[in-house]
């Protein structure tokens, strides 16, 4: 498989409303770093949601990590989601779980032993410089720290593809730098494919990337 995402003529809408995304086509190869930019409300998050199956395309073809979305079953969708690492704009951490438990989530779902889960969670928390907060709860962390925990969770199971929705949207410069370095590191050292939805591409990223621009529900590739 030479591509990780293959979308062709996608229409995406909420319920029976007019499509937010129309006729979107995109090809993302393995190990690529991809940005989707656009104005607020242009449908950037909608694209991400459709890629992890939270929103099903109403028309067109979509294949993510080899899983075809046509007549996809819930068990197949679960399998696909285990290949993905998703970073959400609102972090989506489980409030009643500690930082360590939150990072362990994809590993628990993947069926890894407890010792492996703990070891991997600690390794990643060290990367995001939050090892000292391993037993804290999300509400005890700042927004930037919560996003770093979410980032660690997205990387925990060495996913094939990371989908990040405005990962640095509301963060301070330190947390933003930690996040970008992690994403860069995942691509360079682990060969992970990265797709980031953002307002602005950081000027100092220092890696090759593919860029799509979303305007009026139409996706354009920027050369």
């Amino acid at each position: 498989m030479d591509y990780v995402i293959k979308a062709n003529g996608l229409n995406i809408s909420y319920g029976r409303d007019e499509p937010i995304i129309t006729d979107a086509s995109m090809l993302v190869k393995a190990h690529e770093f991809v940005f989707i930019t656009g104005k607020s409300g242009s449908g950037k998050s909608t694209i991400i949601k459709s890629l992890y199956g939270d929103l099903m395309p109403t028309r067109g073809e979509l294949n993510v990590c080899g899983v075809d979305f046509k007549n996809i079953t819930s068990s197949k969708l679960n399998v696909l989601r285990r290949y993905l690492g998703v970073v959400f704009q609102d972090y989506k951490l489980i409030d009643e779980w500690t930082v360590e438990q939150n990072v362990m989530l994809p590993l628990i779902i993947g069926g890894f032993s407890r010792s492996v889960c703990i070891k991997q969670a600690h390794k990643l928390l060290k990367h995001v410089k939050l090892l000292h907060k391993v037993n804290k709860y999300p509400f005890e962390l700042s927004g930037g720290e919560q996003q770093r925990v979410a980032m660690a969770r997205a990387l925990a199971h060495n996913p094939v593809l990371i989908l990040a929705d405005e990962p640095t949207g509301n963060l301070d410069s330190y947390s933003s730098e930690v996040i970008w370095n992690l994403l860069k590191g995942a691509k360079e050292h682990l060969g992970t494919t990265i797709l980031v939805v953002t307002h602005n591409i950081p000027a100092t990223l220092g890696i090759d990337y593919k860029h799509f621009f979303l305007e009026g529900g139409v996706l354009h590739e920027v050369n």
């Binding site: 992890y52 939270d54 068990s75 969708l77 679960n78 399998v79 696909l80 989601r81 285990r82 993905l84 998703v86 989506k92 951490l93 489980i94 409030d95 009643e96 779980w97 989530l105 994809p106 779902i109």
Partner: protein, 269 residues
Amino acid sequence: MKSISSHLSVMLSVFVLLFCLQFANVINKIVDEYADKITNDYSIVIVSSIEIKEEDLKKQISEVTSLSEISSKKILDRLKNDMSSKNLALLQVALPKFYTIKLGVMPNQKNIQEIKTKLGAISSITRIETFAKTHEKIFKMFLILQTTAYVFTTFIALISMLLIFKQVRIWVYEHNRRMSIMSLFGASFFMKSAMLYRMAIVDSVLSALLVSVFYFILPKISMVQAFAESLGITLPQFNIIYEGGALMGGAFLFSIFAVTLVSQKIGRA
């Protein structure tokens, strides 16, 4: 505190549900035992011109368990002083045979009537006394008691079940965020709901344990025993293995059913 009260509401509902089911079971046992007692005491008296054999009667009326002759010796002994021995001998020959019939089951009015008709069809039987009125009163009283117990149990059990479903529904909503996040990372239905299953199973099993302990101890309390004796009933002993096991198993299965049903219903909504 909130968590304790949510656990208590499930535990209490399951406790009431199991308590009612076991209560119906106990009432059933008491009524059955009492019915047996009454059936043993109950008999139909028949008068026949000739001797009747038990086997022959059993062939014609399946409910009959025994036929015994009422001895006429007592009556004849009483007349001994007033009658000559010749007359007494004549009377003994002319006197019909009196029998009491015992039945295997406690008959209702319809059964009694059927038995009476069958007995009436035997030409030698000249008179049948079923004591139907007295019997009917006792039988109806038991029927009322049993029906009341069943209606009461069904009603309470239904309310308990509704409360359990409602509480599980609250749990699902409380855990909805966690479950939806787990779902975004590919957790299966059972993995997402594992915590709910665990809570429901623990609460149900604890309730079953409490009900078992209650019914195990109840017949052993001297005050309760004295009360039962005054009513002429024997409280059935609680069988920890069969009845306790049935309560545990029932509670376990019901908790799994409730969580699965509610989670899937909310998941689909």
